[in-house]
Symmetry: C2
Subunit: 344 residues, 2 copies
């Protein structure tokens, strides 16, 4: 999968900083929105950036290991929640409508036949991964197909004029998969990156820890991102990694949600470190491994709202802050234009 | 000023929690949005709360002490920035437009004649306060008139159907006034609540510290909120305190911005502690005294974006999160209605 992501040219940075600093406000007073405006201007190579056709993509997939008991919920909840997305009743629907973002669900590998449905991108690699307690979650060719399909989806968005995409996911068992990837790729001890997911009790958490330790005893702690992805990934995680790579290739802004989305980014980042310049980190999830992923990536998220829902809800909730960064840059008066005295 | 604020009746709390917990998400997974939904439901005494005619009020006033050098900017910037608000070019204009909030500027005591202007509420008590280095900032009758006028403004908003109001301010020198009020009312050492305001350098900060120590040496550390308000307040701060009291009396949600807005709330809270039930704390400002105010009030703000601009920018920036709390409560499907399996 040839893919090459370049850092945005920094030549425009000084002019962007000048534009930010002459707005009618004390220098630096808009805090994180100012660094966001600078980042967006750099990605778009523009002093007047524009957000076009903002799009949430929710990647769904099932996990063979879910049947071994790594989640508090039964595996059927994956397809049932996809139906909930398609019917408009989930949190991600409510928030995407509110924020004016488009929403499409990608069936990357759910163990259910949805047929052809409005709002659904059919991209099923297989009806769920294999159980990584017994064998690699997917074959190398399934992994490559997942990444390639994700990349294609992002390229199609870009071709249709979208320049900002938010990532979300659904898949019973996928915090377990994210924990294994984080253990492999972010230099973190396995126990520190295993959390309660959708709400395991103490006994459930202990069971999840024991199962994931068995998985690593079988498959090893792969340091190669593509090897780790095949060993422990989900189809939704692999396809997200591909869509992130494809999006950054096309200069899209990538809104990064929580623990599982960031596990896909760990793969993409290991392959193409410059992808970070395109990433806006939305929130710090309550899932403990997310904080460690963010430290590994040197990322500071915009907000911390104690979310742990997934679906991309954190990404869509911060979208107004992304808009605000663009809007102040484009719409605020300067000291000169407003006739306001600067500092003496 | 007779005013009595009651805590919302808690009888509806259990039904609200039940409604939140049966939505298609793990219990608690929407974190801060869930507590916000509960709070809003309690304030409105409704399982289906609605946000109506959201309004930002930016209170402006001048400070006699500004001419003594407590700010990095000249006093004329107050009226020049009010003109910028009226022309639509300031950060608060940009963000209010984006978030769909109305914006009105209240001239509580600016040293400038604006005439009658669209978007401006003329409520001038006097053209700036007296210099608290030499005498109380305002008389008892000026203070009472400020509070009464603020209360009236909030009552008028409520009468016109508004049920959520955000507070912002403009006034060169008003972080100094807020520091003195915080020292008096939040049990904080003076030096710990003095910051750089709009951007003082080290020498300017030292001068501000020395001036405010002189002010306290003259006027004392008043523990009575109304005495402290007259001694060190600004007209914009006093009028905000009145508007907060009047808003909570009418059951409005109050969006609390940063350091100066919270100094007004310290006064209102000392008079009517139950006002906190109506307050949504937007952000933690970079101004160091704000964190101490929040600790004093036992408040945890929604976000921390390193803002220190004032104008109400923090309050308006979190408004989409307030909307999101209401929207998920009203629009999300339940496990039962969506046909999603709950936890086994």
């Amino acid at each position: 999968m040839p893919c090459s992501i370049a850092r945005p040219d920094q030549g425009i940075a000084a002019a962007l900083r000048q534009r930010i600093d002459t707005k009618t406000k004390p220098v630096g007073a808009l805090g994180r929105l100012e660094s966001l405006a600078l980042q967006i201007g750099l990605v778009q190579q523009s002093l007047n950036p524009v957000l076009r056709q903002p799009q949430m993509l929710v990647f769904a997939g099932d996990h063979g290991a879910a049947r071994a008991g790594v989640s508090a919920y039964p595996q059927d909840v994956t397809w049932q929640m996809v139906e909930n997305f398609l019917a408009g009743g989930a949190a991600i629907n409510v928030f995407s409508r509110q924020m004016g973002m488009g929403l499409r669900v990608v069936d990357a590998g759910v163990a259910h036949d949805f047929g052809v449905r409005p709002g659904l991108i059919g991209a099923k690699i297989a009806p769920g991964t294999a159980n990584y307690l017994e064998a690699p979650a997917m074959s190398a060719s399934q992994r490559d197909a997942s990444v390639a399909r994700g990349r294609q989806i992002a390229h199609e968005l870009a071709a249709n004029g979208c320049n900002v995409v938010g990532f979300g996911e659904m898949g019973i068992g996928n915090t377990a998969s994210a924990s294994l990837l984080t253990h492999c790729l972010a230099g973190a001890d396995l126990d520190t990156v295993i959390g309660r997911g959708t709400g395991l009790d103490d006994a459930g958490l202990a069971r999840k820890r024991a199962l994931l330790a068995r998985a690593v005893a079988r498959g090893g702690r792969c340091s190669d991102p593509l090897a780790a992805l095949a060993e422990y990934g989900g189809f939704e995680i692999a396809m997200m990694a591909g869509a992130m790579l494809g999006g950054a290739e096309k200069g899209l802004l990538l809104l990064i949600d929580g623990f599982i989305v960031t596990s896909a980014l760990l793969v993409a980042h290991a392959l193409e470190p410059a992808i970070l310049d395109y990433c806006i980190f939305a929130h710090r999830s309550q899932e403990p491994g997310h904080g460690l992923q963010l430290v590994h990536l040197g990322a500071e998220p915009l907000v911390e709202l104690d979310l742990r829902l997934g679906e991309g809800t954190g990404a869509v909730l911060v979208y107004p802050l992304v808009q605000a960064a663009v809007n102040f840059l484009n719409e605020m008066a300067s000291f000169e234009s407003a006739g306001v005295a600067g500092r003496p």
